[in-house]
Amino acid sequence: MSIITKILYAIISVIVATIWGLTLGGIVRKLYARVHGRYGPPFWQPFIDIFKNHGKRVAISHGYMFYLGPVFRLAGGLGTYLFIPVIFGSVVFSNFSMAGDLLLVMYFVFFGQLGMALGAGEGGHPYSPIGVARGLSQMSSFEVPFSLSVIAIAIQYHTLNITDIVAAQQGGILNWTLFTNPLAVIAAMISMLGMNMHSPFSIVLAPQEIPIGPPIEMNSSFLATLQTNRGLFGAAKLVLFMNLYFGGAAHPNIFVALLIMIAKTFLIYMFSVFVGAAFPRFRPEQSIRFFLKWPTLIGIASIILVAYF
Amino acid sequence: MKDILTNLEQNFAVSNIEKKRDDLYFINVEKKQIISVLTYLKDYAEFTHLAFLQAVDRIEENQFQLTYMLYSFQHKTNFAVRVLIKRDNAEMISIHKLWKHAWQYQRELKEMFGINFPDSPRVDESFVLEGWEEMPPMRRDFDTLEYSTKTFYQRPGRSTNDPKKYMEKKLYKDFAKSPVIARKDG
């Protein structure tokens, strides 16, 4: 296959993921509104917000790093997404999946945050370093159970290739990691709560205490880039979880497979929405302590279980 | 309560003792004795809470009247200590050593009435008014309307109505004839 077709397919795949991620964000805002007893914004509101922010007439920059912050963030989102095979067996949605892509993806999940930290720091607003400090510390803490769970999976399937991991889970619902290695899935799902930054772990954005945290100085197109990335990155994370733990999306017909992908990612996301709508926010030290306690132990138990039994 | 009042009368130059309600007393004190009276009230009579410190501009008598409102959680009683000071170059003894938070009231009084409190912390900093250059605005010889017309831009066509007459004319035309008024008891 020529590289041109490959790039074309990747562009299609990225566009689909971004649109799905943003729509999911809109639906979730609507759901939260219904929980509050409100009518809520329309589900296409994130798209209008992005158009509006791109349509601003002026944009204030604070220096080179300020420009690069959103670019790094978007690069992190794209990098995460482009190395995950979205639909098993599909040529268009296989992206740039290759041997050992799991490690690359794990790296890219962290990369965007670091780039963002540099850009936000140059904004000079006191709230952005606070947000960045909280974000990075929470990130390093939820990375521990997630990494343990990924190591357990790597030991279980003897591979670091996501496509192989998905392939090993085909052939019935009982082949999913969810049933073959439930402890690893529990640890990973708890760390996903932190990753999605919904309510108990929303200390990074925390609208009431450090107004929206790191991106507070970002304006106009900078903010629009970040919002686009939020859609893409959110979709990428969900697709990664679907591939690793819930059997991936596989069907001979690509549209049916897409529908499976949409349904599965929606349900995976609903886990963190349910928790988010029901619980109040943790403080930073509580959240970090939480991640380093039970999910870490469960993750270690899952490795021991896979390696010795 | 009676003991406190007799004690005050015997030991200090206190005048005008008034009982307004069961839980509200007013006394007048000389400027020199304010610290000792307040110390007595705070430490012996258990009036431990300074609710507010406020000033009234008595321009006709060329005086400022300061009111220290104390409250006692034991007696459940308010106790107001009034002091009359001269209006020209007004100066008062600071009580920030008795109640720490009094410095904020004193700073406000310095700004709004121009009453100086020597030794009070941060008394010269601006409280609400930033960059104020006129005379202290709460003094009664300060004409706010004139200052407002001079400084801010008036929008022409502004009109005012007497609320009572306007409401009668607009909404309650038959209000005077209504049974509520005709009942004569109100």
């Binding site: 805002r29 509104a33 509050h36 007893g37 409100r38 009518y39 809520g40 914004p41 329309p42 509101q45 209008i48 917000d49 158009f51 509006k52 922010n53 349509g55 601003k56 007439r57 002026v58 944009a59 204030i60 607003h125 609208p207 107004p211 929206i212 507070i216 100085e217 970002m218 304006n219 106009s220 903010l223 | 609400v128 008014l129 930033e130 960059g131 104020w132 250059e133 006129e134 605005p137 300060f142 706010t144 309307l145 200052y147 407002s148 400084t151 801010f152 831009y153 008036q154 929008r155 502004r158």
Partner: protein, 213 residues
């Protein structure tokens, strides 16, 4: 015109920033705001629609009217369904709601926040006080006409207007934005000297740059 003249004109066009100390002056920009030309007609129409559907207002309550903003966000009035949302940072918001009386101390912050907002930006003036001073018309420390200090797009009269009135104001603002009538940002840039003169007349301790980028 020779080079010297051009240099002189450029020097005159720069802002003096007299309120700042010599050391601080190097930290702030001294450029004047400039008028931004409109884009392609069809782009502009599309963006005007997007702007009207996504109004982010600055969560800065000035005066008593700020109390009317809280019920808007909760389930009783739920302003989110119109695409309106509060935003904590002036950098990201496009609507500034002046809630009622504005004292001089507040107007300093209002000007500062307004200038930091990224255009196109809209101002909703809430309550009688912003129109002609309202019941504070003779007060020594509250301004009478807001439109002498920042450009205003919509007035919502009343003392206080109910949240419904504010929502009606938002709907009117939407119509005006779609029609392309709200151009307060360019108006501010064109009449910059007049606005600055009025602001400096009342703000005596001007310790910020002349234009807050």
């Amino acid at each position: 015109m020779n080079k010297k003249d051009i240099k002189n004109i450029e020097k005159e066009m720069k802002l003096a920033n007299e309120g700042l100390t010599e050391k601080e002056r190097t930290l702030f920009s001294d450029a004047r705001p400039s008028k931004v030309d409109l884009q392609n007609k069809y782009f502009e129409k599309f963006f005007n629609w997007a702007r009207s559907q996504s109004l982010w207002f600055l969560g800065y309550g000035t005066g008593c009217g700020a109390i009317e903003l809280r019920p808007l966000m909760t389930s009783r009035f739920d302003i989110f369904r119109y695409g309106i949302a509060p935003r904590p940072s002036p950098r990201q918001s496009s609507v500034f709601i002046i809630g009622g009386y504005a004292s001089i101390k507040t107007i300093k912050r209002i000007v500062r926040s307004y200038e930091q907002m990224q255009g196109p930006k809209f101002v909703i003036a809430l309550g009688s006080c912003t129109i002609n001073g309202g019941m504070y018309y003779d007060s020594y420390y509250t301004i009478n006409r807001l439109d002498h200090y920042i450009p205003v797009d919509i007035y919502v009269a009343g003392c206080m207007p109910r949240p419904e009135a504010l929502i009606a104001g938002f709907q009117k603002l939407k119509k005006m934005i779609i029609a392309g009538k709200c151009d307060g940002m360019n108006k501010y840039a064109e009449n910059f000297d007049w606005y600055k003169k009025n602001q400096k007349k009342i703000i005596k301790d001007w310790n910020m740059p002349d234009y807050n980028w």
